[in-house]
Assembly symmetry: C2
Homo-oligomer: 274 residues x 2
């Protein structure tokens, strides 16, 4: 297949590198900033670039790696340019708004939302890695896409070496991502915003390091993701606040039994589920 | 010097192993459960064990590694048994209650509170490591101890290979530990107590793994530590809740500027301070 990777930042370029490393597909590449595309070509991360219209008309699969708000407009603006019968997908971390907007449309191609679940604290082409997805899950949220098209995309993810593939609804994806990824970032940021954070050197061990790691964050991108997933994320913030308040009350009342019960429950979940 | 390690769980046995690996001191060992002491002796983790009174009377430095509530009673019960002019210290994660209780007393030895800052998600003798403190800070909180005694203890920590030593007040220690360690554990537990946690496999990446790691916790011990450090910890929970509510409000109002400002500030702290 000819696969077009549109957007060659951290995720897009890592996808291109993974395709080159683990599959035999021919990798077309395109990036809004031409210097990045040139670099990817020079580095052998993509096999070919060129005029966007031409690339879209040739690609059997187009993978769009833009900020969340740019995806639907890109698909709609180029709706007549994608190859007939091809698959168009994206790598954005929220799915409901995008998938539900695009499923209303009638296209000559099949759009299938996807989320290759990996990231780094750094962004951009230079941060991309051929190993970024080695232990990652590939989630796809096909809504009403034909099963054969979904199968093609899932097969590609397996070929690329994703450790696990999950097919689910956009809504379930977004609810789970609010928990496993978004709230973790909100929480890490809220943590390091404590007035004591600047004094921590000398007093910190592994727990500070791990809990605060994802406070290294691209605010521009994550603010879009948070707002696009508003309801599930607020629900997670509320659950987290409720649990914090249970700890606060137990500590304040010096209720050791209640504290032990909360921690034993957390420990059990972590032990059983990981 | 003859150094007595009293309590041979995760921390005590790791201290004994570190003393044996990195120093030439003679390591006496004692544990309430005799089978553990026997194992430590057989493993060469300690050089000698014996009757507690005898060990206390010989040790130039006694390092007490018990649960927080057991430390003050142990020191008071054995006040006439410690070697005259010796140093008695402990490894407990909170310092104000212990140090302020003991500084009121008049002893023939010098008590200096300490906190070798390292831990694992598993506990007990079998989890101990000779490398546990390799990248750790050694904090000590001498209050009115003579400077020469504090220097001896700090020198020992350096010999043992701690990466950094900090001398401060018990109150500053406890405030910082509430931030760098205790709230991180409260937060990890509160996080995995979300109703969605059991469904996370397939939807999680590094952020879930890191933020939730320290939810593997010994509730019996940490409940004591939390209650013994009630005020600083509640203050941290309140700071964290306030920050979470700022995120919640910004997401709810779809206020992207405010979200970017919060995340940029968090990112800057993390980038500059680590």
């Amino acid at each position: 297949m000819q696969i077009l990777v549109a957007g060659l930042g951290l995720i897009g370029a890592s996808i291109a590198k993974t395709l080159k490393k683990n599959t035999k597909h021919y990798v077309l590449g395109w990036n809004r900033t031409q210097t990045v595309t040139d670099k990817a070509l020079a580095d052998g991360v993509i096999d070919e670039t060129g005029n966007l219209d031409d690339l879209l008309s040739r690609a059997d699969i187009t993978i769009i790696n833009f900020y969340p708000e740019a995806i639907v407009p890109f698909v709609l603006e180029n709706r007549d340019k994608f190859k007939k019968g091809s698959i168009v997908t994206d790598s954005c971390g929220i799915k409901t708004r995008i998938c539900r907007a695009l499923e209303k449309e009638s296209f000559d191609f099949t759009y299938i939302g996807a989320h290759p679940m990996a990231g780094r604290e750094v962004s951009g082409y230079d941060a991309s890695l051929p190993t970024l997805f080695d232990n990652a899950s590939f989630i796809c949220t096909p809504t009403d896409a034909p099963k054969a098209k979904t199968d093609t995309l899932v097969e590609l993810a397996k070929e690329m070496g994703f450790r696990r593939t999950v097919v689910t609804t956009p809504e379930h994806h977004d609810e789970m991502i609010a928990f496993t990824s978004q709230i973790a970032h909100v929480l890490a940021c809220s943590y390091v915003l404590s007035p004591l954070a600047p004094q921590h050197p000398g007093f910190s061990a592994g727990s500070y390091r791990d809990v605060s790691r994802v406070a290294r964050i691209n605010g521009k991108m994550w603010s879009e993701l948070f707002i696009a997933n508003k309801e599930p994320l607020i629900s997670e913030i509320d659950d987290l606040s409720d649990n914090l308040m249970k700890f606060r009350a137990a500590i304040s009342n010096e209720n050791r039994e209640s504290l032990i019960e909360l921690m034993d429950r957390a420990n059990k979940i972590k032990e059983e589920i990981g």
